[in-house]
């Protein structure tokens, strides 16, 4: 599996793609593979404030429910509504169509603490 070079990654297996002052956030291929078949996604409403490192939602697979941690702080500006009816997208297209939320950054410095694709892959390997 290839991990997009232009994304940032967290130890909690989220990816972040920065587009201007807004971040698109999703879970990684590795995360969906570990979770197994995803059956439900619980996401915050738009305008919710999120804080880096704190949970802001959860994904439920046939095996378990797992928290999703905010990779950056800010305000949720958009939520991927398509996931409500088609949670399986998270298994099929975790790195693009199945993005979770868009977050307007409150502290752009936080981006610097994300891992590169190469670092994330070696983190998985280790």
């Amino acid at each position: 599996m290839t991990y997009p070079e232009n994304y940032g990654y967290t130890k909690e297996h989220e990816w972040v793609s920065v587009e201007g002052g807004v971040c698109v956030v999703g879970i990684t291929f590795h995360a969906q593979k570990e979770l197994g078949d995803i059956v439900y996604v619980d996401l915050p409403r738009p305008n919710t404030a999120v804080e880096a490192g704190k949970t802001f939602g959860s994904v439920e697979s046939v095996k378990a429910v797992s928290d999703i941690f905010a990779p950056v702080s800010g305000e949720v500006v958009e939520v991927n509504q398509a996931l409500a009816d088609a949670p399986e997208m998270l298994n099929e297209k975790p790195h693009d169509a199945a993005w979770l939320v868009k977050i307007k950054l409150s502290n752009p410095e936080e981006i610097k603490s994300l891992m590169s694709a190469a670092d994330y892959q070696s983190y998985l390997g280790g």
Partner: protein, 499 residues
């Protein structure tokens, strides 16, 4: 070799709705002996004379229906149940005999105190025994289940800290915690912070020391923890919290490993719950409601739910004058019938008997561990208490995961072990036999798992496609979870049948 099961009559069963035909009945009402009332004159258009599609079946059809369904069951009365006390252990029949004593079974909560002295004595005695077993100063019997006990306990901590001037902000939970622990803390208005486990499967004491500050209200700890390991550093953990004025809550779900041997009150716990339907052998699920008494040390006693039992003039009375109490957490005095059964269990065993039960629970778990360790990877080397946890690492190399092994176990005539929990173990197989299992049954169970390990080496497909001998094989769990059908409709069944 499969030694436990044979093919046995186990019939498919349609719904009563599908067995229905007009005019059949299983019951006749007596003749009307009061003046008839036209329901429509009272209820107007809300009155109905027929319930659409209500099944009409004869008595023998109802009896057969439920008897056939009952043959689909697997329970502790049929064989080893490896979920152990975590779900429900064997319910000794003496508990049922005692609970059916008419004076207890027919008691009414509105009976005057003078006519309820026996029931109140039962409650007082159970509180006293639980205090002794927990090493605590007081116990409330009100909470109706484990998570309810947790909520009560954390509310007690909140009230206590408020009385000290600051309820604080955070509750710490180890990453091996039961999911109800963080959920309880959130409902009680706290933020949750996770504490990582170390390589022994225990709380990382250094990480804990860094996390504990004046914002921390409590640590919620299960001991032995969910990997079945006793937290050896418990005294250090307690002093780290107490130095900063924080409390320790113990989830007593695993008390089956401690009763008669070690008391939470002696190792620094401030408040705890115990599930009577786990450790103290009361029925659960279809058999009865749960019960989650909470024990506290002296400084938390004024905050316990009211009313409290009090001695007065040689008898018992209810004390409602409890200004600091968090208030009632349940109507009346708890699930009384369950409390009676727990008391019967405690009294039938006596102190030495309870201790022996605990030692036997540890023995059976460690026997299973010793027999299975050559075939399955033990998750942590630390000694097992009342349960042992393996990971499916060796079998995963052949593409077979814990869920597949569990399905194959059905073919051998056993209920599966706990699958994929605790989550800090990859592909967990958690086995808790409890104290009541004879060696023969333990051997049958271990032989089954050893045989499956061999099958995985030689023919993994056999296990990946299991179960083979059950009435239904694998169901589509994914579609069932994504697109659940929660209501039966006649036409859908008819069109499915036509497909």
């Amino acid at each position: 070799m499969i030694r436990k099961v044979r093919s046995h009559i186990n019939q498919n069963e349609t719904l009563l709705f599908e067995q229905s035909s007009p005019g059949k009945r299983a019951y006749q009402l007596p003749a009307l002996d009061v003046p008839p009332v036209d329901a429509a004159s009272v209820l107007g258009s809300d009155a109905r004379t027929e319930i659409e599609d209500f099944p009409e079946v004869s008595e023998v059809e109802v009896i057969r229906h439920f008897t056939r369904l009952s043959t689909w069951n697997y329970g502790i009365d049929l064989g080893l149940f490896p979920l152990g006390s975590c779900t429900m252990k064997y319910n000794p029949r003496i508990n049922e005999v005692v609970a059916r004593e008419p004076g207890l079974a027919w008691a009414h909560p509105y009976q005057p105190e003078s006519l309820s002295q026996g029931c109140m004595e039962v409650l007082a005695l159970l509180e006293e025994y639980l205090c002794e077993i927990f090493g605590m100063d007081a116990v409330t019997l009100q909470p109706a289940a484990g998570a309810h006990g947790e909520f009560t306990g954390i509310m007690l901590i909140r009230s206590y800290l408020e009385s000290q001037g600051n309820p604080r902000k955070k509750v710490l939970c180890p990453d091996s915690a039961h999911g109800t622990n963080p959920a309880t803390a959130i409902i009680a208005g706290y933020e949750v912070e996770n504490i990582k486990s170390n390589e022994k499967g225990m709380v990382d004491v250094e990480a804990l020391a860094k996390a504990v500050n004046e914002d921390v209200a409590a640590l919620m700890l299960t001991n032995p923890n969910t990997v079945g390991v006793f937290e050896e550093q418990i005294l250090t953990i307690a002093s780290i919290l107490h130095e900063k004025g924080a409390q320790i809550y113990m989830d007593g779900a695993n008390m089956n490993a401690l009763v008669g041997i070690s008391r939470p009150g002696d190792f620094g716990v401030d408040v705890m719950h115990s599930n009577l339907h786990k450790t103290f052998s009361t029925p659960h699920g279809g058999g009865g409601p749960g019960s989650g008494p909470v024990g506290v040390r002296k400084h938390l006693e004024p905050f316990l739910p009211g009313p409290r039992l009090k001695k007065a003039g040689g008898g018992w009375t209810w004390d409602y004058d409890r200004p600091k109490s968090i208030g009632r957490v349940r109507a009346f005095y708890g699930n009384f019938g369950v409390l009676v059964r727990a008391l019967a269990y405690i009294m039938a065993h006596g102190g030495p008997g309870l201790r022996n039960a605990t030692l036997d629970a540890l023995l059976t778990a460690n026997y299973v561990r010793a027999r299975l360790e050559p075939y399955y990877q033990i998750a942590y080397q630390a000694p097992s208490m009342h349960e042992c946890v393996f990971s499916d690492d060796r079998q995963a190399a052949k593409g077979v995961r814990t869920g597949d092994i569990a399905k194959r176990l059905l073919d051998y005539g056993f209920h599966p072990y706990t699958v994929s929990f605790p989550m800090i173990v990859r592909g967990a197989l958690m086995i808790e036999p409890t104290e009541t299992e004879p060696k023969q049954e333990l051997d049958l169970f271990c032989d089954a798992l050893i045989s499956i390990a061999g099958e995985i080496e030689e023919n993994p497909q056999l296990v990946l496609k299991a179960p083979h001998g059950t009435r239904t094989s694998r169901v589509d769990e994914v579609t069932a979870a994504r697109k659940p059908v929660v209501r039966w409709r006649r036409n859908e069944t008819a069109s499915k049948a036509a497909d």
